[in-house]
């Protein structure tokens, strides 16, 4: 591990932690909490002193695996995103890597939902799978459209390809679809039915103490990562006047993240029994059309 990569790794951990905390605080503030800046700390304190509990014959191995998998997937997905000047993992297939790590969340939620042996988490876990079947294909097509525009699966190349015009300008459909799927990936806000109040909190309904803390931290980290990925993919990465690259990346990430958190309070939940049809019949053809347009543009 050379020095540059080491610095990138450290800045990744720090920025992920800071942004996740900020997202939690912002959400608490929008959610009507007083002293929102300290709210996530208080919540963490509460969960640290909270007793551990166990439901009736749970499959503890699966529950723990799923709980820890959530922050792990977020972290691994983040490795290909340039936090400072360069990513920790400058992979030639960065986009596919991001996609693969984010899909691991399917496993995480299902494992927790199934493992605790309780009806509401079980329903939540299956809801997330149904959600996955709906958002994943439009999401992949959006990513492929980006790769097509850049002619590469390396995220650095994607950023470089936006030197003149950001992808969001000529791939608006892909960008919007990406944002919808970002909400769905992080099961956030309108796409938060897997953890909805109508199933008593869904997947993490039976988690308390440290388990719940790790799960919640993982979820916020995931939200940060999906927001941060929009920046190199669609918003030109660190490009911008006056400020250095890392600052622009930070500004854009905060803007996208703030938008996602805001949407979480402002839009009602979307049920998959209605969204699936919309995703397959409207979103997929629409993103494919976008892909076609981009494919024709990039032809020599």
């Amino acid at each position: 591990m050379d020095e540059g990569t080491g610095a990138a790794a450290v800045s990744l951990v720090v920025s992920l932690a800071v942004l996740a905390y900020g997202a939690a605080a912002l959400d608490a503030g929008l959610g009507g909490a007083r002293g929102a800046a300290g709210a996530p700390l208080r919540e963490a304190a509460r969960l640290l002193v909270q007793g551990r509990r166990r439901t009736l014959v749970p499959d503890t191995l699966l529950v723990r695996t799923g709980t820890v998998l959530l922050p792990l997937a977020a972290l691994l997905a983040a490795t290909v995103l340039p936090a400072g000047d360069r990513p920790v993992l400058d992979s030639g297939v960065g986009i596919v890597w991001f996609n693969a790590m984010e899909v691991c969340v399917w496993g995480a939620l299902w494992l927790v939902g199934w493992g605790v042996n309780s009806v509401y988490p079980l329903i939540g876990g299956y809801r997330f799978l149904a959600q996955g079947l709906s958002y994943e294909l439009p999401h992949m097509f959006a990513l492929i459209t980006v790769a097509l525009g850049a002619g590469s699966l390396r995220i650095a190349d994607v950023v470089a390809a936006q030197r003149e015009v950001w992808f969001v300008v000529w791939m608006p459909v892909a960008f919007v679809v990406y944002l919808v799927s970002a909400l769905a990936m992080a099961f956030w806000g309108p796409m938060g039915e897997p953890v909805g109040r109508n199933v008593a909190g869904g997947v993490p309904a039976e988690l308390s103490g440290a388990d719940r803390l790790v799960f919640a931290a993982g979820r916020y980290a995931l939200l940060v990562v999906v927001a941060a990925a929009a920046v190199p993919l669609f918003l030109g990465g660190g490009a911008g006047p006056v400020l250095p690259g890392w600052a622009w990346t930070a500004v854009k990430t905060v803007a996208v993240l703030g938008g996602l958190v805001l949407v979480g309070q402002r839009v009602p939940a979307v049920r998959m029994d209605r969204f699936t049809e919309f995703a397959w019949v409207v979103l997929i053809p629409l993103t494919l059309l976008q892909t076609l347009v981009v494919a024709i543009v990039v032809l020599p």
Partner: protein, 112 residues
């Protein structure tokens, strides 16, 4: 790859730290209780043959999913290969979309 392993290590230490702190700070022992069922005791285990209404969607999904295996590399070479690549890929996608249309007509995307 080394840096990635380092990150995973950092996460492992962090998670272990959380669990250790919780073990020290939280009340001793693990409370056992039934799952939350609005105040009732469960009559059966929740782990069961869960009837997934959308199983038809999964099959359509698998077909499209495989499309991605080929579409990611395709996206990289379109500019080199030229118009033929676009025509072939979208002909393929067109065929798959016919399948989606059929599944839609059969009501596969509405299960509730």
């Amino acid at each position: 790859m080394g840096a990635v392993l380092w990150l995973v290590g950092v996460l492992a230490v962090g998670v272990a730290g959380v669990y250790a702190a919780s073990a020290v700070l939280s009340p001793r022992g693990v409370a056992g209780s039934g799952p939350f069922l609005s105040g009732a005791w469960p009559r059966e285990h929740a782990m069961s043959r869960f009837h997934v209404r959308w199983y038809a969607v999964t099959l359509v999904f698998l077909a499209f999913d495989m499309e991605m295996v080929f579409m990611y590399p395709w996206a990289v070479v379109v500019a080199e290969v030229g118009a033929m690549a676009v025509v072939e890929m979208f002909a393929f996608l067109g065929l798959l979309l016919v399948g989606v249309l059929y599944a839609w007509r059969e009501g596969a995307f509405r299960w509730a």
